[in-house]
């Protein structure tokens, strides 16, 4: 079975579910600032996912770059352009 090596498969399922919810929410939401924050949450959940897969170095990078700096960069850009997306 694929999940044998992971720590807790229920935890995996929960994280994957939240990842999908975040991804869909980031696509459907119109407010760009909320979208930036949801992207950050998505990155953080992916960081938990990497930790679950015991890839701690990747998780560390994801937490620092994905959830940290790139959220700020997207936020900084979103505040400078029109705040509501048309589609």
């Amino acid at each position: 079975m694929a999940w044998d090596a992971s720590l807790l498969w229920q935890f995996d399922v929960l994280i994957l579910l939240l990842v999908v919810i975040c991804a869909v929410a980031a696509l459907t939401i119109r407010d760009l600032v909320s979208c930036a924050v949801i992207t950050g949450a998505y990155s953080f959940l992916m960081c938990l996912m990497w930790t679950e897969m015991l890839a701690v170095d990747v998780a560390f990078t994801e937490a620092a770059v994905g959830a940290g700096v790139s959220t700020v960069l997207i936020l900084g850009t979103a505040l400078h352009i029109k705040r509501r997306s048309k589609d």
Partner: protein, 249 residues
């Protein structure tokens, strides 16, 4: 158009799910990736380079070229954003009205930032220096170091952060990091070994070749950290101020 896009995405997704079924199970020990090269790195990293965390020795030594050009890619990306966004104030059209003055900044944010930033910077240095033994290394440490300056720019204002770290310094740092990495490689070349073959540094450092490789990895990690720190901060100041560096978020 949107329907069509949805159909295409669904089709590709189904195809990927179908293909994912053929992938070997996660963590299976007899997959091609686990039997060919990985065992060598896992078993010999400590003996070859005296680095217990073989992710670091892999990135810094065995695949040094890869990491060097990754650093170069980050450098190029930062410089490209700079070229596209940066403008000098005098070229700005005059008719743009000045933005309304901000209210006084939040004291909770500022005190929090003041407490957090030193801890972040110490932690970043720890991550860089301790990458040989624990997860981390130049890239992550550099990002955290850059994030500490970004936090300063967000909680105070851009001028306060630029007062601590001038744009000129940032740009020089971003180039110095890449040059430090490539310079260590070239030094190995000058000492008569391969480019990035850190064992050549043993005579300079006065250690044996295994420790020289460990120190060489540490040297290039510092280079990566300097470049990443500078580029992250440079990206933020250009994106948040729209290129004229007068006011942040």
């Amino acid at each position: 158009m949107k329907r069509l896009a949805l159909v295409i995405v669904m089709l590709v997704g189904a195809l990927l799910l179908q293909a994912a079924d053929d992938l070997p199970d996660w963590g299976k020990p007899d997959t091609p990736a686990s039997v060919y090269l990985s065992p060598y790195y896992i078993q010999n990293s400590l003996a070859d380079t005296a680095v217990p965390n073989f992710v670091t020795s892999l990135l810094g030594d065995y695949r040094g070229y890869d990491t060097m050009f990754e650093t170069t890619v980050i450098f190029c990306a930062g410089i490209t954003v700079l070229i596209i966004l940066r403008r000098t104030p005098r070229r700005r059209p005059k008719e743009v009205p000045p933005r309304p003055e901000r209210e006084g900044r939040d004291i909770i944010l500022q005190t929090g930032a003041r407490l957090l930033i030193p801890a972040m910077q110490i932690f970043a240095l720890y991550v860089i220096a301790h990458g040989h033994h624990s997860p981390g290394g130049g890239f992550q440490g550099g990002v955290i170091l850059g994030a500490s300056f970004i936090l300063l720019a967000m909680c105070y204002d851009l001028k306060a952060a630029l007062g601590r770290l001038r744009e000129k310094t940032v740009l020089i740092c971003s180039a110095v990091g890449v040059m430090l990495y490539a310079g260590i490689g070239a030094l190995c070349l000058a000492m008569g070994r391969n480019f990035l073959g850190y064992a050549a540094l043993s005579r300079l450092l006065g250690t044996d070749e295994i420790m020289a490789r460990s120190h060489g990895i540490f040297g290039v990690e510092i280079g990566v950290a300097i470049t990443v720190m500078a580029i992250m901060f440079s990206l933020y100041i250009d994106l948040a101020s729209g290129g004229d560096l007068d006011e942040g978020l």
